[in-house]
Amino acid sequence: MAMLFPDPFDTLQQFQQTLDAFRASSWLGSSPSAAGAYPPLNVFRRGEDVVVITEVPGVRKADIQVQVKGNTIRLSGSKTIDYGEAAALHRRERRAGHFDRAVTVPVEIDADAVKAECRDGVLALYLPRAERDKPKTIAIG
């Protein structure tokens, strides 16, 4: 992280506060996206590349599809919950259903080098920035 954390115990708190602060960011803006707001995304920057992390607990790898076209990423799939032959349901907070969300990233990405990883219910997409979009360093004469 660019911010310095002198106190190791503060790291967690600071990270969570930073995540909250960026909720108001309009980086992704109002882009044309397919219906729905699920799954919620967190977009990070690592150097020049963009990393999109989302939480999809209970969704199997086979049930999720990631598609990339130009600067648009589409996440679609379904989450199923199987109760078996349960006698009685005491509490139900988890939801099942299908989802389909597309977001347009405002930087140019290299669609061929996009990588996706899904582990422990967290899907991470690594979107490397297109070479032609990277800023050029200007030497000061």
Partner: protein
């Protein structure tokens, strides 16, 4: 209309306790399903981002407490640009009835979902009475 419904985003609820913990960090309540079958009570919790090693399930004084810690090292070098949800540890406790055999609990994790099966005590199993 579509046959299955569209998933909605569920905002993470934060744990609000009477006492604070010594280390300041935010804990969230994992979404939980609890259902009962003839011989066991099943508790299913959604704890995305937590692996088997970071989950702690404790039963003490009839209270089941589940704590799952996120490894923040995964976020090293990542700077947030846009966020829609917060990331934090999970914790939730439930009071168990004495109908459950607290020695026999099995747990397994898959895709960020923790499933706990608590067997009912033998006295609490339903008994069928034959009619002469």
């Amino acid at each position: 209309m579509a046959r299955s419904q569209e998933l909605q985003v569920q905002e993470k609820k934060e744990v609000v306790g009477k006492e604070e913990s010594t280390v300041p960090s935010r804990y969230f309540l994992p979404n939980t399903d609890i259902y009962e079958t003839d011989d066991a009570l099943t508790v299913i919790m959604e704890i995305p981002g937590v692996g088997k090693e970071d989950i702690e399930v404790k039963i003490e004084d009839d209270v089941l407490r589940v704590e799952a810690k996120i490894n923040f090292a995964n976020y090293d070098g990542l700077e947030p640009l846009y966020t829609e949800y917060n990331v934090g540890h999970f914790a939730r406790s439930f009071t168990l009835s004495n109908k459950l055999d607290q020695e026999q609990v099995s747990a397994h994790v898959e895709d960020g979902v923790l499933t706990l099966a608590l067997k009912k005590a033998k006295e609490a199993l339903p008994r069928r009475i034959a009619i002469n």
